[in-house]
Amino acid sequence: MAVDTAVDHGAEAAGPGSNIHPMDQFIVTPLFGEGEVAWYTLTNVTLWMAITVLCIFALLVLGTRGRAIVPTRTQSVAELAYGFVYKMVEDVTGREGLKYFPYIMTLFMFIVFANFLGLLPMAFTTTSHIAVTAVLALAVFITVTVIGFVKNGSAFLGLFWVSSAPLALRPVLAIIELISYFVRPVSHSIRLAGNLMAGHAVIKVFAGFAISAVIAPLSILAITAVYGLEVLVAFIQAYVFTILTCVYLKDALHPHH
């Protein structure tokens, strides 16, 4: 009893609005017991990434096990996803980019499922963490850079030398291009994590306001609206991440402007 009061005291002492913790949903906690989060600890990250893998398995492997010429509903969704990414890769990078289709499909499926699973109540959104999106973006950045140099050799540097610009401008443009090239992984990762984090936090803030009975209806309305927006954002951000990957890959395969 006395302890409870003390905790309340502590919360109140932290100031008004401290019962709204919009960022708590992003805390990485161990699944079993307490303590430090070591690199191997089973955490909520592990749980929700495992669920992501299971969902992808259910859709793309179990859903297509019939191999039907006339597809079932699940199989058509799987084929739709396949066709969507395949066409994106083919349209943006051309036929030689199709070699990297499984890699890009992996990225897309992971992000889109992580985003949508994160929208479930009580869920943990793995893609809202910079650690996750930065690894994804860096993997793309490093892979694309390596492919660029392997495929084109030093001609890959032509990407920074805008040969269509006047000669005097080219060194300046080269510096800008170089900076923009290295900013790519930053914007690539922060765009995804930022969008998801902001949306989820906003929902939590509105949910916190619902404590007051007067504001609750308005709050619920706002949550519904933001949630609808977030469903859109979940897909669009996965799409944006994937298509930017394709664009970067295209730059690596065809570095000349």
Partner: protein
């Protein structure tokens, strides 16, 4: 980090009987009198963004790599080849079906053409037969008409001959009668009927009568 703070503060509180660390990270000390004192409230002190808690980075990165490897394995070994094969097979089936449909349509066209041709042939044949029949009939008819004409002409000729004969006969009879009558008249008048003048006289007179 949190633990150190807890210990430091516990050391600073001489009268603590027990220390409770709650699940949400608050540390509460219980004094001898049973009163609770909040030592650390993680909520109040938590960094603004769990995203920037670098302690969890290795964990997240490790599980992300595991997850991506698992998804990549699933996709590249099972899902993508399978879906690709299904799509290719479907495309093949559709192409085959379209080709078969095209084939069948061509056959139908051919059959229709053959039917039209047979119909045209039959019509031409029937027309030919009809024309032939008509020609034959015409020929027979012509032959019959010619025959009839010839017949008619022959009969007409015969009749004319008969009529001429009858007329000659009649003329001869008239001459005979005229001579006999003249002989009789001459005899009655007391002449000699055997006289040759009579004969020539009658013939002379009869010349004008003859047609």
């Amino acid at each position: 980090m949190a633990k150190d703070i807890v210990l430091a503060q516990v050391e600073g509180q001489p009268d603590l009987d027990a220390l409770i660390v709650t699940e949400d990270g608050a540390a509460i000390g219980v004094t001898e009198g049973g009163e609770a004192v909040v030592l650390v409230d993680d909520h109040a002190e938590a960094p603004g963004m769990p995203q920037l808690n670098f302690e969890t980075f290795p964990n997240q990165i490790f599980w992300l790599v595991v997850t991506l490897a698992a998804i990549y394995y699933l996709l590249s070994r099972v899902a993508l080849p399978r879906i690709g094969a299904v799509l290719a097979e479907r495309q093949g089936t559709i192409t085959n079906d379209i080709a078969a449909a095209e084939d069948l349509r061509q056959k139908a066209d051919e059959a229709e053409k053959a039917y039209d041709k047979a119909l045209a042939d039959a019509r031409a044949e029937s027309q030919r037969i009809a024309a032939e029949g008509r020609a034959e009939v015409q020929r027979d008819l012509d032959k019959a008409i010619a025959k009839a004409d010839a017949d008619i002409a022959a009969r007409t000729a015969e009749s004319e001959k008969e009529i001429a004969a009858i007329r000659d006969e009649a003329a001869a009879s008239v001459e005979q009668v005229a001579r006999e009558a003249a002989e009789e008249i001459v005899r009655v008048l007391g002449g000699n009927p055997e006289d040759a003048d009579l004969e020539s006289a009658v013939s002379e007179r009869m010349r004008g009568v003859r047609v």
